[in-house]
């Protein structure tokens, strides 16, 4: 029995490719290059290179999935799942997490310098899709010399990337674990994203995206993040976390933050603008909305799927409700895929994929064990 633990101190690394004239062709028809991807790795790639797991992050995530950066107190965003003896056991597996293109955490995005102008891209950055994100990651996986990934896993947008990997490169993925995700955004999900984008774009500080060096549209981005946070929780988790508790003894009878929930949202909004680029928020939410593997946009309809699947949903997740996970399962059934599906009972809402460690660990560790065994 391994002692569970942290991967310890880690460092983000960078991989640059697609130097002109070999730019990456995007789904929109435009090209992008050079491209830098920020990534981290945990564990060791074995000699056969068959123990690699690609972890995909969600909308506001980054390459720092586990362990600690020098001088920082908080671990990576999925630390409870990645480490020796954890679900993604770094004693057995080589775990890679890369920041998406369009992001602002070290990968090429709208805040990166456009080599043609010497200034940040801003809105000159091309619109990117989930499929473009995956195509970029493929270069990183090629760089490692990994022919076939043992697993691609992620929650929310990370789950979309996992699904896209199988759609784009089925022969390169032994198993996939899409969590709290969908084959496509529903009008409700697009609507929430659009409200977030409008909040950013309505802020005069946005300046048509050309705000670099002048300070970003903090008010708008904070509102977008506050809306996001509401959709990540559930009615019940908000009741448990805040109820109607007040910050002071009584109502202020002014427009102050009377309720704890108000204070929490403002805090979340304010801390988000310090770490995230407003234009990246626009680009990435657009990529989420464009994603659709449900039908005619799917390149290989009806083809059998060899990749083994574990699909996970959460009962109280109303942003990505379980019927969407069941749609994924339906597609897998039609294609005779070897798949498991579990709807975990949780009250955390969409955030559950970051918080329900025990249940996910149970499912994932056994699933991976089998996939790894079959792959040898």
């Amino acid at each position: 029995m391994t002692i569970q633990g942290s991967v310890g101190k880690v460092k983000t690394e960078y991989f640059t490719f697609a130097e002109p004239p070999k730019e990456l062709k995007l789904e929109s028809g435009q090209s992008l290059g050079p491209i830098t991807l920020a990534y981290e790795t945990y564990g060791t790639l074995n000699k056969e290179k068959n123990n690699a797991i690609l972890v995909e992050h969600a909308l506001s995530g980054d390459a720092h999935a586990a362990g600690y950066h020098d001088g920082e107190e908080d671990p990576g965003w999925w630390d409870s799942m990645i480490g020796p003896g954890r679900a993604f056991d770094t004693d057995k597996y080589f775990v890679v997490c890369s920041n998406v293109i369009g992001g602002c955490k070290g990968s090429t995005g709208p805040s990166s310098v456009n080599p043609k102008t010497g200034r940040p891209y801003a809105l000159d950055f091309p619109l990117i899709t989930i499929s473009d994100m995956v195509n970029a990651q493929k270069h990183l996986i090629d760089h490692f010399g990994i022919d076939k990934l043992l697993c691609v896993v992620g929650g929310s947008m990370g789950g979309m990337q996992a699904l896209q990997w199988v759609a784009s490169y089925p022969e390169r993925v032994r198993s996939a674990i899409p969590i709290a995700t969908a084959l496509k955004h529903s009008p409700q999900q697009i609507a929430f994203d659009e409200v977030g984008r409008q909040a950013v774009m309505a802020d005069p500080e946005w300046r048509e995206g050309d705000y670099y060096g002048k300070g970003q549209p903090e008010k708008g981005l904070a509102v977008a993040r506050m809306i996001g946070h509401i959709t990540y929780m559930s009615d019940q988790s908000m009741e448990e976390k805040f109820s109607r508790r007040l910050k002071e003894k009584n109502y202020s009878f002014r427009f102050k933050t009377d309720f704890e929930v108000e204070g929490y949202l403002r805090y979340r909004g304010d801390s988000f603008v310090k770490r995230f680029d407003a234009n990246s928020y626009l680009y990435i939410t657009k990529a989420l909305d464009y994603f659709d593997l449900s039908g005619e946009r799917n390149k290989h309809p009806g083809r059998h799927i060899e990749t083994k699947f574990l699909v996970i949903a959460f009962k109280s997740d109303w942003l990505y409700p379980s019927y969407q996970a069941q749609e994924i399962v339906k597609q897998l059934k039609i294609r005779h895929a070897d798949a498991s599906y579990c709807e975990i009972k949780s009250t955390y809402g969409h955030d559950a994929f970051l918080l329900e460690t025990e249940e996910q660990t149970h499912l994932i560790s056994h699933f991976l064990k089998k996939a790894h065994k079959e792959g040898r």
């Binding site: 069941q326 039609i334 498991s340 499912l363 699933f367």
Partner: protein, 204 residues
């Protein structure tokens, strides 16, 4: 037969299933039967189960399983996706039995149905002399806590198959300790039928 299982019905079903076939177990519980079939007969197994706790047990065993109810678990499969669809001790718990059987016969070449016999002699005695709902070895629940929505006998099931034009390929009757063939509707605790779609036009 030495499967190591202490479940007589599992032994019987194990004997029926051909090696290497594709099997869908509806209401697979903790996956004991599928595990047996995977290990011993190398089948390609898929389970459907409603209980979350049981799903974890299945995944532990390395089985592929869908979390959901039987009634809605079948409709997405293309015709003939499986060699066997198993409905063991679960048919009596589904809401629309005829719909589920039709669907099972559509997605599977053969359907294996196992159920407790309501016309078992002890059940008859309890109902006839005591005027009470039967509680037997194969029907252990009381009226207020039973998961069973339907109660049927071996004769009922045969009549159902005849009415629906379903072909019964083989039948197996189980007592407490082994298979029993003498007046099964009276003496069998459990029955296992292997059925397949008849030649009749569907819905005719």
């Amino acid at each position: 037969m030495t499967t190591g299982s202490n479940r007589l019905d599992h032994e019987v079903i194990y004997g029926i299933v051909e090696p290497g076939s594709r099997v869908l177990d509806l209401g697979c519980g903790e996956g004991d039967l599928l595990h047996l079939l995977t290990k011993g007969k190398g089948v390609k197994a898929q389970g459907v189960e409603l209980s979350e706790a049981a799903i974890y047990k299945c995944v532990e065993k390395g089985l592929s399983v869908f979390h959901g109810d039987i009634d809605s678990g079948l409709k997405d499969y293309p015709d003939g996706s499986f060699d066997y669809v198993i409905l063991n001790q679960s048919m009596q718990e589904v809401k629309k039995v005829d719909f589920v059987i039709d669907e099972a016969l559509r997605v599977g070449s053969r359907v294996i149905v196992g159920f407790p016999n309501f016309a078992y002699w002890r059940a008859r005695i309890r109902l006839f002399f005591k005027g009470k709902t039967p509680v037997t070895y194969s029907l252990p629940y009381r009226w207020y806590n039973t998961p069973n929505l339907h109660f049927l006998s071996i004769s009922d099931f045969k009549e159902f198959c005849a009415d629906k034009g379903i072909t019964i390929e083989s039948e197996h009757f189980l007592g407490k300790k082994g298979t029993s063939w003498f007046l099964p509707n009276l003496f069998a605790l459990n029955a296992v039928f292997v059925i397949k779609a008849g030649n009749k036009v569907k819905g005719g």
